[in-house]
Symmetry: C2
């Protein structure tokens, strides 16, 4: 996924606002033509979109803030999480190119979104987004599908968090990385894993130590190999898939 041009454009004329490096898009001068760089066709959303980048570890928005925008990630990875008062963190999900963020139908954001890697997003004002949803059946169905998919993912994550062992959790996680990669036409056995151990731990409801130990265990069993550059090779995807549902 390489909207590199778009990012370059943004950065060239960008203004930093908190964690958000943003550039109001000049619709005529530098029209965004995402279809050249991704599978996604240009759509009615382009009409109301502006683009921006978020630097590593900086927030795109925070839980409780007034929800003014909806976002679509075009490159990079973003972590979405909720915090307990004492600082415990539960990562709800990792959001990547093609995924939407902040579709709360609520006045405030329900979670915090932070960049795992520097990320590029399309930004849509919520007001105009809502109008568009009412008027445009295609956009509507697409967002409905996105939301439904989010619900499905959330429910599967509940099964993972409530009923799976550490090893099953890790294998499920690796499998989902593989599936995501495959869905975007990448190799499903050499996948990128840009998030750190702490992020994985907070996503799977474990500690960094347990994540590390379990990864070592899978490595020793010959199921995976750690590669440079936050990459991981899934040597035995079948066994990983089996272990994802039964220890």
């Amino acid at each position: 996924m390489a909207p590199a041009l778009a990012i370059a454009n943004v950065n060239a004329t960008s203004v930093t606002l908190g964690g958000l490096v943003q550039a109001r898009r000049n619709a005529t001068a530098t029209p965004v033509n995402p279809s050249r760089w991704t599978m996604r066709p240009s759509d009615a959303l382009d009409e109301i979109a502006s683009i921006a980048t978020v630097e590593r570890d900086l927030p795109l928005f925070r839980e409780g803030e007034h929800a003014e925008n909806v976002f679509e990630v075009t490159s990079g990875t973003i972590r979405v999480f909720k915090l307990l008062p004492d600082g415990r963190r539960q990562i709800i999900g990792f959001v990547e190119a093609g995924d939407f963020l902040g579709l709360s139908f609520n006045d405030t954001y329900l979670y915090t979104a932070e960049a795992v890697t520097t990320a590029a997003v399309r930004r849509f004002p919520r007001r105009r987004m809502e109008t568009l949803i009412d008027e445009n059946p295609i956009i509507r169905r697409r967002l409905l599908a996105v939301t439904a998919n989010e619900l499905l993912t959330a429910q599967e994550q509940m099964v993972l968090l409530g009923r799976k062992t550490a090893k099953e959790k890790l294998c499920t996680f690796l499998l989902s990385l593989s599936r995501k990669a495959a869905r975007r036409g990448l190799c499903d056995t050499r996948v990128s894993m840009p998030m750190g151990r702490a992020d994985i731990a907070d996503y799977l409801g474990l500690t960094i130590e347990t994540v590390s130990r379990t990864i070592t265990c899978l490595k020793t069993a010959g199921l995976i190999r750690l590669l440079d550059g936050h990459k991981i090779e899934l040597t035995d995807l079948d066994t990983i898939a089996e272990m994802a549902e039964a220890a």
Copy 2:
């Protein structure tokens, strides 16, 4: 919440089909007038609704089945869950009067729905439901709101499952019972808890023993009292609320 009349009507002319006792509604002869019995005004959904009851412990539908209908619960409680191949169960939620079920936007149901108590539901054919969503902005916004709320609940449940202790889980659960009761105008300190320990355990990601022990602990601490008829008194709601987020 007493759609007792409606239930009586159904039972009088009902046919059993699996777990589902159903009666095709005769729109002119016995018009459903839910507004007399609940807060909900009659709506466009009435046009395509039929009503049915599900007996205790019987399924309304199963995960993987072709999703032909969408349901709205009008009385009783339904548990929604997913199973792992080896039988481990994660309850996604308890669905009560006013809640919707089976809004999958998918061809098959993503989870199983079983009656905790005998329950009454309104049933809508998915096809006609989809048409209605496209045509009727009011219905659409309502279902969008329902879905968004489901997502919020799911995300909060992830925090619970991934990051809370047994005591915090139980307190959060009790608090949610109280909130639900309050929302429908019932007493928020003497609430009904129709599900058994096994259901609670599978909802909170615990075992029945841990649920039982934790309840005993809360009882000993003077925060709750168990009453007859699956009722529970929340003696100290404030402390319960505190303990829901920090041990």
